[in-house]
């Protein structure tokens, strides 16, 4: 399977994160997470629920990119106006998102970089729904560029999402909903299965070494003793992915759309 791309490997790895989740809303923000959630629903996890990206629930995942506005079969209704009631604050959701920073505690940042709260050096989106998502339902992450700028030393510049940092936990609070699942990057797949939920490498993409992952990370990583190679999608999976991404938007995620297995 030399023609599998890194993007497709990541989509497949993302889909695995949504396996066995039950009847919950699977949200993938960005092409790779969204295709991953959609692939999961169309293959091993049909029980997943998802929206058309706007307000309607669909049983047939909506393909990426330009199409006719009503090329979607509405099976239900989940607008923002009841998203917290039905999905987030009931814990019936698993989101895969791409924050700007993440630290060794799994704390994430989407709000701002550098400077102060009054005057940030770089203002980004704001915390959006991250504080609620992370205290109520499972979350996974996709990072297209594994680097020390993303996997930062110390803590993120503004904690927009709850992690496993004991120092940040107000006593008496209920953190039972904090459930950080999987991290997929251009180099590897990780989880939070290390000591005290430390980040742990669980598979390496073809041609990648643990040392390369560690060098691109601002803190010490744990690892499985024997690290398998990240699984590649089958021909059937690739056909599903192609149907979900008719315009080939996945080809633009990584520079030059590299193959999953680097040329020898």
């Amino acid at each position: 399977m030399t023609d599998v791309t890194l993007a497709e490997l990541c989509i497949f790895a993302a889909s695995e994160a949504f396996c066995g989740n039950g009847e919950i809303i699977a949200t993938g923000v960005g092409p790779i997470p969204r295709l991953g959630a959609s692939l999961a629903k169309l293959t091993h996890s049909p029980e997943l629920m998802m929206t058309d990206g706007e307000a309607y629930l669909v049983e047939q995942p909506v393909p990426l990119g330009p199409r006719k506005y009503d090329d979607r079969k509405k099976a239900g209704y989940l607008p923002f106006s009841r998203f917290f009631d039905s999905a987030v604050w009931t814990g019936r959701r698993h989101a895969m998102v791409t924050p700007t920073q993440i630290d060794r505690f799994g704390q994430i940042n989407l709000s701002r970089l550098g400077g102060t709260h009054q005057q940030p050096k770089t203002q980004m989106l704001g915390v959006r729904g991250f504080p609620g998502n992370t205290i109520y339902h499972p979350n996974s992450f996709f990072f297209p560029q594994h680097s020390t700028r993303v996997f930062v030393a110390g803590e993120v510049d503004m904690i927009s999402g709850v992690g496993y940092n004991p120092a940040r936990r107000v006593p008496g609070g209920n953190y039972s909903g904090v459930d950080l699942r999987r991290i997929i990057t251009n180099l590897c797949v990780m989880d939070f299965g290390g000591a005290d939920h430390a980040m742990r490498v669980v598979s390496l993409h073809p041609g990648v070494t643990f040392d390369a992952v560690q060098t691109a990370t601002g803190f010490a990583l744990e690892r499985l003793e024997t690290l398998p190679e990240t699984a590649l999608p089958t021909a059937d999976d690739l056909a599903v992915i192609a149907a979900l991404d008719p315009h080939g938007i996945r080809a633009g995620v990584f520079k030059d759309n590299p193959p999953a297995r680097p040329a020898a």
Partner: protein, 298 residues
């Protein structure tokens, strides 16, 4: 008791509405990002001398423009985005210059604060915010459950609004509104959280029951929450107003690009605000051009 038409006639001009607002007020703005925003009313504020506002919004170009024009003293927000252009450049400029105070909130806490205000409560408890920087930065306090669980929760303070500005699809002159489109976001809670709500609409009718009785379920908030109504077709431009029109990407792009070049709001204000609404709309191709804007694909 006989109620005459006159006492319930809430029609006003956009200028009348802005004249009801004053410096230092806390204003809620309905919609979400670049969607369903009362942009014509925002433009009317931009044509006025109003200042030192506290703006409470799921922000889009409304927040960007008010920041750019120096109207904002404080912003209560969870995000500011133009969707198709993820980062709102004029908002970023204001933040990076340190020129506005902020209360940054999670999207869910935000609507929770509107609901607390709507019900006249000082706060509503929530888990959201624990374990993040929001509580400390925002000065949010915690409460303990008085029951056996004793859980520590954040007390999300009521987001009380002096006034709310909301753009709807239809209304009659009594403020019987109808909201359509796939999602009406938190417009009803902005209306209920506010001491007074002013509504602009795409279509104004005299008695809605004589025109659209079959659409009564689209009334997401009742007329007791509406103080003033004005008909402004295309009033959400350059944002979207489903199901009537999508956002105007070209206009949003021009607005976003102007934050870099020339980067000076006063130099471009005429283009994006206009002398009046008729002139503004004409400069973007008029009603026909707006009606032809396709709904966005997500």
């Amino acid at each position: 008791m006989t109620v005459t038409n006159g006492t319930l006639d809430k029609r006003m001009s956009a200028a009348d509405i802005v004249a009801q607002l004053s410096d230092g007020m806390t204003l809620g703005i309905g919609g979400w990002g670049p969607r369903r925003k009362p942009m014509a009313l925002v433009r009317e504020i931009l044509r006025s001398d109003l200042k030192d506002l506290t703006i409470v919004a799921y922000g889009g170009a409304d927040v960007g423009m008010l920041c750019a024009a120096g109207k904002v003293k404080k912003l209560v927000f969870a995000f500011v985005s133009l969707d198709a252009i993820p980062l709102e450049p004029w908002f970023r400029k204001a933040r990076e210059a340190g020129s506005i105070e902020v209360l940054e909130l999670d999207e869910g806490m935000f609507q929770w604060g509107l609901k607390a205000a709507a019900f006249g409560l000082p706060f509503l408890p929530t888990r959201v915010g624990l374990g993040t920087d929001l509580a400390e930065l925002g000065g949010l306090k915690t409460v303990s459950s008085p029951y056996a669980d004793g859980e520590t929760l954040i007390a999300m303070p009521a987001l009380k609004l002096d006034a709310a500005l909301i753009h709807v699809n239809r209304s009659d002159w009594r403020g019987n509104v109808q909201l359509f489109g796939a999602d009406t976001y938190y417009d009803e809670w902005f209306a209920k959280a506010a001491a007074r709500s002013f509504v602009s609409c795409e279509e104004l009718v005299d008695r809605i029951e004589d025109h659209y009785p079959e659409d009564a379920q689209a009334q997401t908030f009742e007329r007791c929450f509406v103080t003033g109504v004005v008909e402004i077709p295309c009033g959400a431009h350059p944002g979207s107003m489903p199901p009537l029109y999508g956002w105007d990407f070209k206009a949003l792009k021009a607005y976003a690009d102007a934050a870099k070049d020339p980067g000076d709001w006063n130099a471009v204000k005429d283009r994006f605000v206009g002398a009046d609404e008729a002139q503004y709309l004409a400069s973007f191709g008029g009603k026909e051009a707006v009606a032809a804007l396709p709904l966005p694909i997500f």
